[in-house]
Symmetry: C2
Subunit: 324 residues, 2 copies
């Protein structure tokens, strides 16, 4: 049984209860099912924004400035920040966190850093569940911040209503983003460090790449490019307005409902897949080690082994009365 | 029933049969189980190398030169190149492919590009199955080439015996890789464009980062840093020898067996997870749309919905006589 009191305290907006709930549902604690069932009705009203882009472009500085703007409107803001799990990063790389520290003591801001636990499937699901908890705790805006331009990071950011891709002038970042297949998920582009001599060149480079894509597949929203300065906050107001324009466009075009549904579908699918992986790894570490020995010795192929364990787990799930 | 003739032709080294098999098992064709069962015994002898690193550092040029060296020893080489699925990349970005074109006509080289199909779990599994097929077709060396520094790309590369992380001087790439949690999976570092004025600085930057990690967690293999030039081939011979040294180290220390086992375990787990996701998406698109309507309307939470569909799929798998 989950601590009903804990869920109630979260719904009342208690930040410590929120932190404890996120810890539980992030690591797929057995209480997750009941906790999510208890909070889900209170979700769906927050505005969600995904922030992605290569490391070092200054995402955290922009987010810090953006949060300030939302706070001046008295909106409560939750941030799910996805950090790679690296033995090196344990305490060593604190730059991004420090930039957000302006808001650490603000009761209207809640920041949660998540490690990738070596698995992006699990990461995407965990980040989304954390965002649900933040919404239920009364956050008006939930921001996903992801570091990197890989497809996995994209998966996390794409759960949001609006995805902002931050780039910086020079360093070939726009081409990097293009190569990693990230550009097509961006609703709004943000060229940070707009005081850089090459910032205009970067913007037109991005624009021409977007135009090629647009010719191949015209759609009603052409992603605007906003020039910002994370250090001074220049352009961040415009970025905020652009995000709102995109949101209005989604609602007018009926895309909003579609996106939200797709994000929920992903949540449903990834939860089960994560659960299956967890249970399979558990089995492979105990009762099914003999099966794996046969795989190692080339006696049994890995796909057949997988099908057998899949069945066994499915069988157990069907008999299991804890769920459903 | 799979085309037994097709499997036989693959085992005989027929490249067209290999291409067809990869197409089938990559997209999880129903024949996959039987095809993999038919080829698995002929796998396990190839040397596998993962090549990762940020886009634009010249991985493909180094790989092209490395392939030349293996070919001069009459070794057959398979390359699994992972490209992001981007509507922009369809025909637009051919740089990397062109650099590999030296080997397109060589009968001892087989190159396969894979799109990410928007899902990295599926990608990692597909790439590994493709590598199995290449091994069974007689490739002595299988190279995974991944674009990007995200965790997902890491997952693909980490299936290999030896992982090479390619970086270039300047552009803060080493720090990017560090932030993305990639450095700890590298067995060998390759600083490409060694003629660049900042190449020595880049090497010492990497070395000092590695030393910090080493102090936290000392292990018997300290990743060597090799300086290369993809354009002239300088240093690629040394890179090849370093990869062989790493392989010898793995075998002496007993790590080789451990890595291979871990890669097979991942293959077993991801296959089932991919299959579950596929079946769930299929259901959500047809019979369970009503269930999803209840999720959209906030009547039923997504985790409970997921558990129900998971059970239904597991139930079907248990009744299913096609597998096992």
């Amino acid at each position: 049984m989950p601590d009903n009191n804990l869920v109630q305290r979260l719904l009342d907006g208690d930040k410590r209860a929120l932190a404890r709930v996120i810890s539980k549902i992030e690591r797929e604690d057995p209480e997750t099912t009941e906790i999510v069932a208890g909070i889900y009705q209170k979700t769906g009203d927050a505005m969600t924004i995904g922030f992605t882009g290569p490391p070092g472009v200054g995402k955290s500085s922009i987010i810090a400035k953006l949060v300030k703007l939302y706070r001046s409107e008295d909106k409560r803001v939750g941030i799910v920040s996805v950090d790679p799990s690296s033995p090196f990063s344990k305490g060593a790389i604190l730059g991004d966190r420090i930039r957000l520290s302006d808001h650490f003591l603000d009761p209207g801001v809640f920041i949660r850093s998540m490690g990738s636990r070596g698995h992006l499937g699990g990461l995407a699901g965990g980040a989304r569940r954390a965002a649900l908890a933040m919404e239920a705790a009364g956050m008006d805006v939930v921001l996903y911040e992801t570091v990197g331009v890989g497809q996995g990071e994209v998966e996390v950011a794409s759960a949001a209503d609006t995805v902002v891709l931050a780039l910086q002038p020079g360093a070939g970042d726009s081409v990097q983003a293009l190569k990693a297949g990230v550009m097509e998920i961006a609703d709004v582009f943000c060229i940070n460090k707009s005081d850089h001599p090459r910032s205009k060149a970067a913007a037109s480079e991005v624009r021409s790449i977007l135009e090629i894509g647009y010719e191949l597949d015209p759609h009603p929203w052409f992603p605007p490019i906003v020039m910002t300065r994370g250090d001074t906050g220049e352009g961040v107001e415009e970025l905020k307005e652009t995000i709102e324009k995109h949101r209005a466009h989604l609602k007018q075009s009926g895309q909003f409902e579609k996106r939200r549904r797709s994000a929920l579908r992903d949540l449903v699918v990834t939860w089960a897949a994560d659960r299956l992986q967890r249970e399979m790894r558990h089995r492979l570490g105990s009762e099914d080690t003999e099966l794996m020995e046969r795989v190692y010795s080339r006696e049994l192929d890995p796909i057949s082994a997988s099908e057998r364990i899949f069945k066994a787990v499915g069988d157990a799930a069907t008999r299991d009365t804890d769920f459903g």
